[in-house]
């Protein structure tokens, strides 16, 4: 396959950045999208140009490191995959592919296609866990969990924190990400104890970091590589409302 790539190049966080067009030839359709970029980079190095920086790590769709907004869609034109598992057979010979970094105020560009997603970590730090210390916990089978709940919890827990939901959302909202963690823990008896506090702290942090508001367009669900459902968002809305109405007077 022969392709034209229009790639966002930006030297560092402060630089202005622009699109640069590259031609790339003889790409196998069995090649993954990132391997196609590897080939491009190898060619750039050969020409003494600086290779395109992009985030990637596990290349098996689970670490959530890879990103890329490809032809108007996060993780490109395939359903339920991350960019590293997107294969070139999804494109046609002669296609022009526009490759952009995630765009959102809380995800500033670091270089080329790499953005800083530490905002997600900050949201988790605000309360995305069950506050137990190591040791001194009850036997694992002392806490029965109905299978349906455990399965729903697992559905939510499969979030890889890649940020595609934010990238896809016209409002750059992080609701799917936040609600996935809120749901995972709210569905389990272990997580109930601090559920009210958790949801309020996480939402407050999300707002503080400058993510947009959810307007229920569901682009997040459509683009989530792990197919996390917007039902989680509804669940979080419910949890938050419950916490506001029935919560303690003042949360620290």
């Amino acid at each position: 396959m022969n392709l034209t790539l229009k790639i966002w190049r930006q030297k560092d966080a402060k630089a202005k950045g622009k699109f640069v067009t590259y031609k790339i030839n003889d790409i196998s359709p069995d090649c993954s999208f990132l391997e196609m970029l590897d080939i491009l980079n190898e060619q750039l190095v050969e020409k003494d140009e600086e290779p395109v920086a992009f985030d990637h790590d596990c290349r098996e769709g689970i670490c959530g490191t890879c990103s890329l907004y490809i032809n108007g869609r996060p993780h490109g034109p395939d359903e339920a995959v991350t960019t590293c598992q997107l294969h070139m057979r999804k494109f046609k010979d002669g296609d022009t592919i526009v490759i952009e970094p995630w765009r959102a105020k809380p995800f500033p560009v670091i270089k080329d296609l790499i953005v800083d997603r530490y905002a997600f970590d900050k949201i988790i730090q605000a309360g995305g866990y069950i506050s137990v210390n190591t040791g001194g916990v009850p036997d694992a089978n002392a806490i029965p969990v109905p299978k349906e709940k455990a399965d729903l919890s697992m559905d939510a827990a499969s979030c890889i924190g890649c940020g595609a939901c934010v990238a896809a959302c016209k409002n750059a909202s992080a609701m799917l990400f936040v609600s996935a963690k809120v749901s995972q823990l709210a569905l389990l008896p272990q997580g109930k104890t601090e559920a009210k506090r958790r949801v309020q702290k996480m939402v407050a942090k999300m707002d503080e970091l400058g993510f947009g508001n959810c307007t229920n367009t569901y682009a997040c669900e459509a683009e989530c590589p792990k197919e996390i459902s917007v039902e989680n968002i509804a669940r979080m809305n419910r949890e938050f409302l419950g916490a506001k109405i029935g919560g303690n007077k003042k949360e620290k």
Partner: protein, 646 residues
């Protein structure tokens, strides 16, 4: 320095760990605040250790190369985590888990460590459930178990095909909790360059900020390396692209002994290589072997036709299929340990019975399981794996058998550590895959997660206190200290040196070349001649590398080529070390298969008389042959036997 004192506590096996804890030194809460611990890596071992240290009250600094601590490669483990809970009532016990692990490791691990691992395995499950890890459950609401290679009981806990992810997110949650409290300082996108040693103790690190390219100095009363394995020496492996061996290799160069470097694990169920542009291999969980049956055609002609694409696997009649694992190992069948399954696949392919366009693949067939349990049941168990396979290979595994082939997956070798997980550098600890302990010459499935979390949650928080108890008087050392100055200068020089080469060949080209050599000669099977040849070739690559490597971009700012270049420089040295180790170990054991030492049936032939030891290598300077030290493994509690899975 008196080397290789394993510090194994006295007493009967089952009481060693309890004895240790009862008699160890502890640090009082007020003093913990005065002590700093540096943890490198945020995988299961690193995140768990960092969180646990912080909960105890220590000041912790954590470093990772990823953009977030949640992305460490532990996340990619699919199948599950072992524990001796015996919930299924099928006869499991701590002793049995210990025994299976020792036997699975082909009797090349330290008994006391492995027993401790089995002992704390149950605590891990309790801990993870309390953290909200959504393990698979039965309708009664209790935890479900499945079976895994190398065991006759069902002791593996799992969260769909994403167990590693869920366990890591649990540990990441615990770490996040401590970051929020301010007891952990998190440094993302930082790569350790060197260990700083002051008065023979590890007292800090030099780290490179990957975004700015600046070198930074960080002090700690103790340093923990939890940086994973070095499987990426092979270029193609199931490791993540950023997983690397540089941190432990830097420690080795600073004087920490490197244990069993040649023990690498080849995982039998990976998606076969499909092109030379390929960047990494994808693992399919070993759990697939529970329901999948492995076969190749019985007739060579059929295999050849398949390779040419003239025949489909579904067209081959049942009687023309060779279920070679079931044939060779009737007792364990498709569930033999990884090394055995991998070698058997290679044997069939080398003999010309392989399938797929390259002939380097065997089938993993779910037809029977689908007929027996129904498609839905299989989808519920393995849906995400099947989907992943289909995305990569573009074939539907529900209707046509999967193709698999072995690939490098895990390195049992690593920094030599004593019972306390301390390396031969005082104050430098290694946890998880980064150390050599627990798995001997071969790791059983679902044991890596167990070891990472065991080290992190339940071992190192204790042993670290034993070390720090007499360090409470040591004031924080300024990073202006000459040792920091010197270490930073060395790191800077190394960077300058690689940038100054300005050659013509890209880093990846060298890496691929190295990988092919390692795969060919230090891979699934080795022999003397090949290893000697490999050492020569590796040396040539090193020479060429330092003459001709091309690093584009600048020293300052983010430079991915520079990062890769520094890592590949270490891989070259590491590969040589692996070859030395493989060469000296004149026996076959676990993942280390020397062609000269096999039984008449082609099984690994151990030499317990001469090689029941851990090889621990000491760095002796660039270009010098490292010195071999031996830690004898005295099996007091188990009888060392020929491993049999027949």
């Amino acid at each position: 320095m008196t080397k290789l004192n394993s510090k194994t506590p006295e007493g009967p096996l089952a009481e060693k760990w309890r004895n240790y804890r009862s008699n160890q030194n502890l640090v009082n809460p007020a003093n913990k605040r005065k002590l700093d611990i540096i943890v490198i890596g945020t995988g299961l071992a690193g995140a768990a250790a960092a969180a646990s240290f912080a909960e105890l009250g220590f000041n912790v600094k954590v470093f990772c190369i990823q953009d977030s601590p949640r992305r460490a490669h532990s996340i990619a483990a699919q199948g599950g985590i072992n524990a001796a809970k015996n919930y299924p009532n099928d006869g499991d016990s701590i002793y049995r888990l210990f025994y299976d692990t020792i036997k699975g490791g082909d009797y090349r691990a330290r008994e006391a460590n492995v027993y401790r691992l089995a002992e704390v395995s149950n605590n891990i499950i309790d801990q993870c459930v309390a953290q909200g890890v959504p393990f698979a459950r039965e309708y009664g609401g209790l935890l479900d178990n499945r079976s895994f290679g190398g065991a006759l009981v069902s002791r593996t806990f799992y969260a769909r095909g994403q167990t590693g992810q869920q366990l890591l997110l649990g540990a990441y949650g615990a770490l996040s909790k401590e970051i929020e409290k301010g007891s952990v300082e998190m440094y993302t996108r930082h790569e350790m360059q060197d260990i700083v040693i002051i008065e023979d103790r590890a007292r800090g690190i030099i780290a490179r900020n990957i975004i700015t390219g600046e070198l930074e100095r960080h002090f700690g009363h103790a340093v923990v390396l939890a940086t994973g394995g070095y499987g990426n020496v092979f270029f193609l492996s199931t490791n993540a692209m950023n997983s690397n061996g540089s941190a432990i290799f830097r420690a080795y160069k600073k004087g920490a002994l490197f244990g069993n470097p040649c023990f690498t694990q080849i995982h039998p169920t990976c998606i076969p290589v499909h092109g030379d542009y390929q960047s990494k291999l994808t693992l399919m969980s070993e759990s697939l072997r529970n329901d999948g049956r492995i076969w190749v055609p019985k007739n060579k002609e059929d295999a050849e036709k398949i390779q040419k694409g003239e025949l489909k696997p579904t067209e081959i009649a049942e009687e023309d299929r060779d279920y070679y694992l079931e044939r060779r190992y009737p007792a364990f069948g498709n569930l033999v340990p990884r090394d055995v399954a991998s070698r058997a696949a290679k044997e069939r392919c080398d003999a010309g019975y392989g399938v797929g366009p390259t002939g380097l693949a065997v089938y993993l067939d779910f037809e029977d399981a689908i007929n027996r349990l129904g498609r839905d049941a299989i989808e519920a168990k393995y849906g995400n794996l099947f989907q992943m396979y289909e995305k990569i290979v573009d074939e539907d595994p529900y209707t046509t058998p999967m193709m698999i082939y072995p690939a490098v997956h895990y390195t049992m070798g690593g920094l030599w550590v004593d019972y306390e997980l301390q390396t031969t550098i005082t104050g430098l600890f290694a946890a998880g895959e980064a150390n050599f302990s627990d798995h001997g010459a071969n790791r059983l499935g679902a044991s890596a997660l167990m070891q990472g979390l065991s080290d992190g949650y339940f071992v190192i928080p204790y042993t670290m206190q034993n070390y720090l108890a007499d360090q409470i008087g040591v004031k924080r050392i300024s990073t202006d200290h000459e040792a920091f100055e010197k270490a930073e200068k060395e790191s800077q020089e190394r960077i300058d040196r690689i940038m100054a080469v300005k050659g013509k060949t890209s880093v990846d080209t060298f890496h691929k070349k190295l990988g092919l050599i390692v795969w060919e000669y230090i891979g699934m099977s080795r022999n003397k001649e090949g290893l000697e040849k490999a050492i020569g070739m590796i040396r040539e690559i090193r020479e060429e590398f330092w003459k001709d490597v091309k690093i584009t971009g600048d020293i300052t700012g983010m430079n991915t080529e520079l990062e890769k270049g520094l890592r590949v420089a270490d891989y070259i040295d590491l590969a040589e070390l692996m070859a030395y180790d493989a060469l000296q170990r004149e026996e076959s054991c676990g993942g280390h298969f020397r062609e000269e030492y096999q039984t008449g049936e082609g099984e690994a032939l151990r030499n317990d008389k001469e090689f029941t030891y851990v090889s621990a290598w000491e760095y002796k300077g660039d270009g010098e042959k490292p010195e071999l030290h031996k830690e004898d493994l005295n099996f007091e509690f188990v009888e060392v036997k020929q491993r049999s899975y027949k």
